[in-house]
Subunit: 495 residues, 2 copies
């Protein structure tokens, strides 16, 4: 009777979803044309792409509640999205799903200089919080490299770190409370001002849950006083093993540097022409060790670290003489990823952690893998907390190279687990490392994750197939087929 | 046909359970006679008592797995128990249930001075960990007042703190990994050596879960180097409000003291004759402010804090001249609870938190409540983190006094929530504060807790009716009847 019924299901489904969303949201907040939704097809892990069915950008929490209820009622999978700077494909869309962007929820609700807190909406950029707190001489500590662009909502989803998290902690250590909308549209508040909230610590569970449990609509962060002084040492080593051991020596001496980063020669040579940070490009490895605090504390700690680094075999040591020089030393480290993009057509950034004492050992094994896979790897690390960021350089236009890079990356992650570390330090599991979760955890442990996921999202609508692999997926691991630019899921039943 | 069938159900049920347990455990590990199980009828919250059906004390993890599977199969509720020093009735037995004591799982498995970790079984005493680490000049930081007796398993269940948690954190900040047996007998490991473990942060959920999610059989704790020097200031104030404001001033100056404790005059007068700590018993309040670190850091911080306390109106300041004197200053604070027992037939220790800036205000309101309820209240605080421990003094033999003390305590907790704090800082909710959870959380938030509880324990066998109140219970709150020494539950359906 009706010609419309002859349309493919995907088309009628999209039309139904868009019609329903438009009843809840202004027209400009619902995107579905190809050109409008193209920017949402991937996050920072650009090798994995998928166009969504529809993108919703609520202006208010009330709209967000209604969107979630609609998705639940229509059984529409939801992929939450902050700024899309994530590096593990956590915000990669689902073909028959909705992307829920928190970009328009970008108000700084309150900065309280006495309580040293800020209450912000999820779409507020990480650096914008520190900017708002700056008049009170306060700042928000976690500083991922993407801090100019990334949002606090995304930071909460990924439990983001940064170069200063060794001393100041990850997102979970700097967020006091979140306000969450559940898939049923309920609003709950988790955490609080006290050191410990009564009941189960669901705040910690939400932080780093990669959008699988609910959508955060308000975040109360801790602000800390800007240190009076900060100073960074740049130390050169003629051998990566010596550099790795120097990291262990600094920490072993009981020092907690404000930052402790390592870059190998490939990295410093990659960065230097681009950033002109003043790096010693002849050194096999350079360490950046920052101290902050009162001028007396900084002087004492810099002297102490200088002595340790010298004893550990540093061939050259420079100490930043001004804050400009300090920021210049850091600029190289912070721009390592874009620099990789300048010397190689493509790069694949890994994010594993290892026990600090295994740093030197792991570096040598990664070097051996470079020959095995025929690809170069630049190594930058949050060395102080054992968080590696090997950047595997490849050219996606050369047949097989992406595949080789993926295999190289997977082997690095397996090595991390083998030496007692983990498959992700701060970038999350997303879609990229979901198979590596099979290596990291036992079936019983993965089932514990699922049990909690199920507790909040019975129908598995919130970012399904991310972060936790099903038993089935782990059984299939190794046989799964990945095509450049488009991850093809085998047609598996979900969980 | 069989006379045994004429026995009351409780008797045959106990016999069946004991028979089944004896197939799994040596005879000495299964207690069920009145004289044997009497010591288990309460924990440190002695006003709440209940004899259990049976007590099991496994020697090994394998036995513990079998006990849990048996309980699941027989639908037998389980109350886990460490040393029984808890103060919220978390280990109060259930009449038709089993008490699972971890007392015999008391091996220190490994102390690793390089990684600065210790792996211990749950029955190891808190202080025994530091004793084992002492030869390496390391220690385990959280130090609840009961640290001589309390076990790490109990500390994990309650997320215990102590006088140094302001600087060194609670149990959750000092435990890296736990090994857990689930109600199904599965063994899972949560957490790890890295700053952040991939997947959901179930480690944080287990810590402080009051035995509701699983039984911990192995705990990996972080050890930290003993500070080179520690020194404590004792400051007197002629007004509690000034003392409360001085706390805010110290923290406001950006100092994180190793300990920052406050005692009012009732407390210092209660403690001094007993401990002879050298307290100023004429002062309305005394503050203890500890600094630790290198000798230079300590000297600088003590000078800084002395200046702040003087500016805040301290009438007298003493600085410990030796480690003996420092420990003597602390001994009064650490013995406040036993001292209360010497001056009053009974006392009721509360454990709320409040924002630091409300300290002075809350103290005045508690003072007003003393008149209202006709009971004295001694106030000791972990002032630095806003954790109050009002000790309500009463005589249970005087009709109505226990009831008055309970009402007084409940009003203090409601005041804590009113000013933006919480109903428990470190003692847990247990059975004591379960009604106050109705004040702290919305029905949706409590449902989120239940959802996670259910995810691990569908049949609600693990410490049921503790920590999270049912919707029904909250609806009944205010009408529930409590009798001295025996809490009578209304005959409600569970959840």
């Amino acid at each position: 009777m009706n010609a419309i019924t002859d349309l493919p299901y995907t088309v009628t489904r999209q039309r139904d979803v868009v019609d329903a969303l438009r009843k809840l949201l202004p027209e400009r907040c619902v995107l579905f044309n190809d050109e409008d939704i193209r920017p949402y097809e991937c996050d920072g892990l650009a090798a994995y792409r998928q166009m969504p069915m529809v993108v919703a950008l609520p202006d208010t929490e009330a709209q967000l509640v209604q969107i979630l209820q609609l998705c639940r009622d229509m059984q529409l999978p939801i992929v939450p999205r902050g700024a899309g700077t994530g590096l593990s494909g956590g915000a990669m869309p689902i073909a028959d799903g909705l992307v829920l962007s928190t970009a328009k929820l970008n108000r700084i609700i309150k900065v309280d200089p006495v309580a040293r807190t800020a209450v912000v909406q999820p779409g507020v950029r990480n650096l914008a919080i520190s900017d708002a707190a700056a008049p009170h001489n306060l700042y928000y500590a976690p500083d991922p490299s993407s801090q100019i662009a990334c949002t606090i909502g995304g930071n909460v989803a990924e439990n983001s770190g940064g170069v200063h998290c060794l001393k100041y902690g990850l997102t979970v250590h700097n967020v006091m409370r979140v306000r969450v909308v559940t898939i049923d549209g309920d609003i709950i508040e988790l955490g609080g001002a006290a050191l410990d909230a009564p009941g189960l610590d669901l705040l910690a569970v939400f932080i780093g849950s990669e959008g699988m449990l609910g959508i955060v609509t308000e975040v109360t962060v801790r602000l800390i006083p800007k240190p009076q002084r900060a100073c960074v040492i740049m130390a050169s080593f003629d051998d990566v093993v010596k550099g790795g051991n120097a990291v262990a020596d600094v920490i072993g001496a009981g020092i907690i540097p404000a930052g402790l980063e390592m870059m190998d020669r490939t990295s410093s040579r990659m960065v230097e022409p681009f950033v002109k940070a003043g790096y010693d490009i002849d050194a096999a490895a350079i360490l950046l060790c920052e101290s902050d605090g009162t001028p007396e504390e900084v002087s004492e700690e810099i002297a102490h670290m200088t002595a340790i680094l010298t004893a550990s075999g540093a061939t050259k040591i420079s100490v930043s003489g001004s804050d400009e020089e300090r920021l210049r030393f850091w600029s190289g480290r912070k721009n390592a990823f874009p620099a990789a993009g300048r010397i190689s057509p493509d790069y694949y950034c890994m994010d594993g952690t290892i026990p600090r004492k295994r740093l030197a050992d792991v570096l040598l094994r990664i070097e051996a893998m470079e020959s095995k896979y025929g690809l170069r790897c630049a190594n930058v690390f949050h060395a102080g907390d054992g968080n590696l960021h090997p950047l595997i350089l490849f050219d996606a236009n050369k047949p097989g190279e992406f595949h080789q890079a993926e295999a190289f990356g997977a082997e690095i992650l397996e090595l991390c687990v083998e030496v007692g570390g983990t498959i992700t330090g701060e970038h999350g599991v997303g879609i990229e490392k979901i198979n590596s979760m099979c290596v990291q955890y036992s079936p019983q442990e993965r089932e514990a994750f699922f049990a909690v996921k199920r507790a909040f999202d019975t129908a598995f609508l919130l970012n399904p197939d991310k972060a936790i692999p099903s038993l089935h997926r782990c059984a299939e691991y190794g046989k799964m087929h990945v095509q450049r630019g488009q991850l093809k899921f085998p047609d598996l039943p979900r969980f």
